[in-house]
């Protein structure tokens, strides 16, 4: 990790996006006190980290971790003892993740999807303010992926802060409100998902009279957002409207555009652009854990 600084606000579903080996798990390992940092600092709930603060966080790193020979209930009893939670919560969380019927079966008999769901149940056990999920859909079949994502969205609706690490753009887009992109331990992008990664097309449009253009564009019915930039307006369209539709509308209102171009805002392209944009050699050489600054306010 190198010079990484992140801040996650309460209530956000924060995605940490990056290819394999970009430092997602390392970052989470550091803030969970299981990976040693060379320098830097992190805070939980505005305080210095401690075992007590970890009890208020529900976290899974990489694969679900349980005693294979123990049942879901016995595994969660151990977690409940560690976190100081009443055992009555176990039934509740097992129902939430739909594992209640299999609660007495040994963990090793579970499918991968069930193991992931148990991991989420375990993270939910203490009814934490913050959940950390690391690649929660890794290795699952499409149905399993859909179930887990639905579960995460459902949990997020309850107002919990979720930090989700993933190498899948699509996942971050479907689940997260904010995200950061890491590459080789370096932060190369951070912002809100709506702004950066919505799949809708944007249209750049310019005319001689920019003010009038903006006023007119705003009257167009199928507009999601209009943002003035240096030499043009960036218009985000909805309802499958294309740049041609917008152009027709403007011509009808007597505006002749001097510039019109459609940007297909594909996720993959965006992601690859973001990664490609950062090619400074210094970043790729530096794997030291320097200047980590991660703050969570919840």
């Amino acid at each position: 990790m190198n010079d990484l600084s992140l801040e996650v606000q309460a209530g956000q579903v924060f995605g940490i996006l990056g290819p394999n080996g970009s430092g997602k798990t390392t970052t989470l390992g550091i803030v969970l006190d299981v990976v040693k940092k060379n320098s830097g600092a992190y805070h939980w709930f505005g305080n210095l980290p401690s075992a007590e603060s970890r009890k208020k966080i529900g976290a899974i790193l990489e694969t679900p971790v349980f005693y294979p020979y123990l049942s879901a209930v016995d595994n969660l009893k151990i977690v409940a003892l560690i976190k100081g939670v009443d055992e009555s919560r176990i039934d509740t969380v097992l129902k939430t993740v739909d594992l209640h019927e299999r609660r007495l079966d040994a963990f090793k008999t579970y499918s991968l999807g069930m193991k992931q769901r148990l991991a989420i149940a375990s993270a939910l056990l203490a009814d934490p303010q913050v959940m950390i999920l690391d690649e929660p859909t890794n290795g699952l079949d499409p149905q399993g992926i859909a179930e887990i994502r639905q579960l995460i969205i459902q949990i997020a609706r309850q107002g919990k802060t979720i930090i989700l690490a993933s190498h899948l753009l699509d996942e971050v887009q479907k689940v997260c409100s904010h995200f950061a992109v890491l590459k080789k331990g370096k932060l190369i992008y951070s912002g809100s998902v709506d702004e950066a990664l919505t799949g809708t097309d944007t249209v750049e449009v310019a005319a001689d009279d920019m003010n009038r253009l903006e006023e007119t564009v705003k009257q167009f019915a199928h507009i999601q957002s209009v943002r003035p930039e240096k030499q043009f307006l960036r218009v985000r369209l909805t309802d499958n409207q294309s740049s041609a539709d917008l152009n027709r509308f403007l011509v009808e209102r007597g505006i002749v555009v001097s510039h019109l171009s459609q940007r297909t805002n594909s996720l993959e392209q965006q992601f690859l652009q973001i990664l490609a944009a950062d090619q400074s050699p210094a970043a790729s050489e530096n794997h030291s854990l320097a200047n980590q600054n991660i703050t969570t306010h919840a």
Partner: protein
């Protein structure tokens, strides 16, 4: 503290290999400890002699000799308990549950404490087992009975407890250092049975004017209960647990725990 013990108990109570190994251990321990007289009688029937003494008249189970005899013999089997402790700690690394425990909010001291508590429990149960077995065998074989002789020299049970507890903390350290079950068991056995004894022997010949080879950890632990059988051949034996030996072993226990904690502190956990 009950919380930490409860955590360990949950892990072990459904862990079949633990119960199989424990059952085997106590079975073998019972057979070895209770079979001595039968073995001596067998030797006598084959005409064997210990320096001209008929083995079947050795008062192995007589109060109050019985405690030093039994505990001395029992220490030879403690390595199996060591294997159980190694498995219990290396499992935490292979399942990565140690990392999840820390993530869930256990401190490193609490994790180590839970392991030390289960070691303590094993050492206590083991000592009680030998104590009860000693009472039964003494009641069967000893020509002298009565409260006054029964508990004479019972201090060896405390020596035995410390012996086993210290060895198990050593096994814990080896397990944490190696992390892999198979390697850790092999290393523990090799070190305990060969490397240290042979190394100490070589050093004692090489540097015969010094006594430092007496102070290696396994030797120090084994020194707590001295070989009792010489007295039947009219030799002088140490029929008490020496204070100096206790102090040395307690120091070793402190050192093992300190190094175990350092390992947890300085390494990435389960990475």
């Amino acid at each position: 503290m009950p919380r930490l013990l409860a955590i360990e108990w949950l892990k072990l109570k459904s862990y079949r290999p633990f119960w199989i190994l424990m059952t085997l251990y106590f079975l073998v321990l019972s057979l070895v400890l209770s079979g001595v007289m039968l073995f001596f009688e067998y030797l006598a029937s084959r005409g064997a002699e210990f320096n001209g003494i008929d083995p079947s008249i050795v008062p192995f189970y007589d109060f109050a000799d019985i405690w030093q005899n039994m505990t001395y013999l029992a220490t030879f089997l403690k390595i199996f308990l060591g294997f159980i402790v190694v498995i219990s700690i290396t499992n935490e690394y292979s399942y990565k549950t140690i990392r999840q425990h820390i993530i869930d909010g256990l401190t490193r001291w609490e994790f180590l404490g839970s392991k030390l508590l289960i070691i303590l429990a094993i050492a206590v149960v083991n000592t009680l087992f030998v104590f009860v077995l000693g009472l039964i065998l003494g009641w069967i074989y000893s020509p002298v009975q009565g409260m006054d002789v029964m508990f004479e020299y019972a201090g060896f049970l405390l020596g035995y407890f410390l012996d086993v507890f210290a060895f198990l903390t050593f096994a814990l350290l080896v397990g944490m250092l190696i992390k892999r079950t198979g390697f850790a068991i092999v290393l523990l056995a090799l070190y305990t049975l060969f490397i240290e004894p042979i190394g100490a022997l070589v050093l004692s010949i090489e540097y015969s004017e010094y006594t430092f080879h007496q102070y290696f950890p396994i030797r120090a632990i084994n020194n707590l209960i001295q070989v009792p059988f010489g007295k039947y051949l009219f030799q002088e034996v140490q029929d008490y647990v020496a204070f100096g030996d206790i102090a040395l072993v307690v120091a070793y226990v402190g050192l093992f725990i300190f190094f175990s904690y350092r390992l947890l502190k300085i390494r990435d956990i389960g990475g």
